[in-house]
């Protein structure tokens, strides 16, 4: 009887996990649509191919080794996890029914799928930043290493119980562990691959390169927003009692509030700065709000969550402009949305979570950034020297779609200039 109850509770938590995983998997479509909408039509097929394949590569590599590397049975040290392959067996009924401290309360398989889509999300951040000028297969090879080792390494440090966790670094759903981490890798890639032809004039002026399909980009934002309920909501890891259910609900409310605040703030700031309401900035604002709250979507009151989102929305607009000024060409604003806003988010934890310390957050952020940036830089550098990262000038002018995929995204209407 009691056993049946814990079984039912196990079932509910597992189901909650699986639904969250579905929502996070859906974010892959969001990134794909967002990026496909913000590039020029001549590079659309290629970015779609990248987004589709990176998701598959991430899930595959994470299954083969990444998951175990991030959550090792017997880590070598608090800094270094351990390698092993594929997944183990799931929890037995007895283990669950036995109950007591640390008894399993949801399926290990559901945990894997939820974690796997996080790895894919991290990689999706990179694809947007290097859009329109990086070759497909070199990118995918990077994705292999990234999702098998680079991301799982720092993931282990925090969520795998490594040194950052022991140090008290607080990151609920991954403002830094996922988002800023992805942005750091993106930054390394952007530096190594360089800006798109024509993005910066001789006299160093910044040139606008409008995206070809803004409805698509807007759809991408809505998909990401929807998926984020799974991203943050699922990160509570349990829903099966009153306190946990309240917690998950609070996470939903705060996540939504921060996104709303970020969008409104970015739209208003854009209106003030540019005299018009920039839809792409509005989109970035909502995403920045989501990233900002991801580090601590539970503890804040909805009012505070709204505030955290608003600041995130303001920051992202300024960050996009600043990063452009630094001649770092980021077509979709990935570095600003996931990086800058992620850093804001990690420190905003201090407002509401008393377990967080300034030093802890600082060290966690710096360490994660350093690892992700350096490791990505090295791997990409090797790829650059071996297969090369960038297509030829002519290929880039003609567009990567025909070059890489031999087809056009809109063969009947696009005019490729």
């Amino acid at each position: 009887m009691e056993g049946n109850l814990s079984q039912l509770s196990y079932a509910l938590d597992t189901f909650y996990f699986l639904m969250s995983a579905v929502l996070v998997m859906w974010m892959a479509a969001g990134f794909a649509m967002l990026e496909a909408g913000l590039v020029r039509s001549k590079n659309t097929v290629e970015i779609l191919t990248k987004n589709a394949l990176l998701y598959s590569v991430a899930c595959t590599m994470y299954l083969i080794v990444g998951y175990n590397f991030m959550y090792p049975g017997d880590p070598i040290s608090a800094y270094l996890p351990n390698i092993s392959f594929m997944l183990g067996a799931d929890h037995t009924v007895d283990a669950v029914v036995a109950g007591g401290e640390g008894a399993p309360y949801y399926s290990a398989m559901s945990d894997f799928i939820f974690q796997a889509v996080f790895a894919a999300a991290t990689m999706s951040i990179v694809s947007g930043a290097i859009a329109e000028r990086m070759k497909l297969w070199p990118f995918l090879i990077f994705a292999v290493v990234m999702t098998a080792f680079i991301y799982p390494m720092e993931g282990y440090w925090k969520w795998g119980g490594g040194w950052l966790d022991q140090l008290g670094f607080q990151d609920f759903a991954g403002s830094v562990v996922v988002h800023m981490a992805g942005a750091a890798a993106a930054l390394a890639a952007v530096i190594l691959v360089g800006p798109r032809i024509g993005k910066y004039g001789e006299n160093g002026e910044v040139r606008a390169i409008p995206g070809a399909n803004l409805p698509m980009a807007t759809l991408g934002m809505f998909i990401l927003w929807m998926g984020w309920f799974g991203f943050n909501g699922g990160s509570e890891l349990m829903v099966s009692n009153v306190d946990e259910a309240n917690a998950v609900a609070a996470v939903f409310v705060n996540t939504n509030a921060a996104a709303a605040g970020g969008m409104i703030a970015a739209a208003l700031l854009g209106r003030v700065l540019f005299g018009k309401t920039d839809l792409t900035m509005t989109i970035n604002g909502a995403l920045a709000g989501l990233v900002s709250i991801t580090a601590e979507p539970l503890a804040p009151t909805p009012g505070l969550a709204l505030f955290i989102g608003i600041v995130g929305g303001l920051i992202v607009v300024l960050s996009v402009i600043a990063i452009d000024k630094m001649k770092l060409d980021d077509p979709v604003g990935a570095i600003s949305v996931h990086g800058t806003a992620g850093i804001w988010g990690i420190f905003a934890v201090l407002f509401s979570n008393s377990d967080a310390t300034f030093m802890g957050q600082l060290i966690g952020t710096v360490a994660t950034f350093a690892w992700m940036f350096i490791a990505s830089f090295v791997v990409l550098y090797i790829i650059k020297k071996t297969m090369g990262l960038r297509p030829t000038k002519d290929q880039e002018l003609e567009g990567l779609d025909v070059e890489e995929c031999g087809m056009e995204a809109y063969p009947e209407f696009a005019n490729k200039n």
Binding site: V206, A208, I209, L273, F274, G275, D278, D324, G333
Partner: protein, 112 residues
């Protein structure tokens, strides 16, 4: 015979067509073009970077007309398309050596 090429504002196309029909000129071909001229496209800002939508969307219509119809067709187009604002466009008249109607192989004025 002559070929009239007129560059006009897109929203004037229907009016011009109706005006021409009244003149009894039914055939014409319309082409979407981008115009550059005195009328500048506005400066816009995209993600913080300035850019000029430097062209203005226009419609170019081509009408082949007989010599005696030329005069009134040109005036008709000009008057219908005129708003008095910069960007009203231009009309070009080119000599036309020959016209063939594909369907019937008629040539010359009958083919118009």
């Amino acid at each position: 015979m002559n070929l009239i090429k007129a560059i006009i504002n897109p929203y004037k196309l229907d009016d011009v067509r109706d005006a021409l029909s009244e003149l009894g000129t039914y055939g014409l071909t319309a082409i979407e073009v981008k115009g550059y001229g005195r009328q500048k496209g506005q400066k816009e800002i995209y993600r913080g970077a300035e850019y000029e939508i430097s062209y203005v969307p226009k419609i170019m219509i081509e009408v082949a007309v007989s010599d005696d119809a030329l005069e009134k067709v040109v005036t008709c187009i000009a008057e219908t398309a005129r708003t008095g604002k910069i960007g009203d466009g231009k009309i070009f008249v080119l000599p036309l050596e020959q016209v063939i109607r594909v369907r019937t192989s008629e040539t010359g004025d009958e083919a118009l």
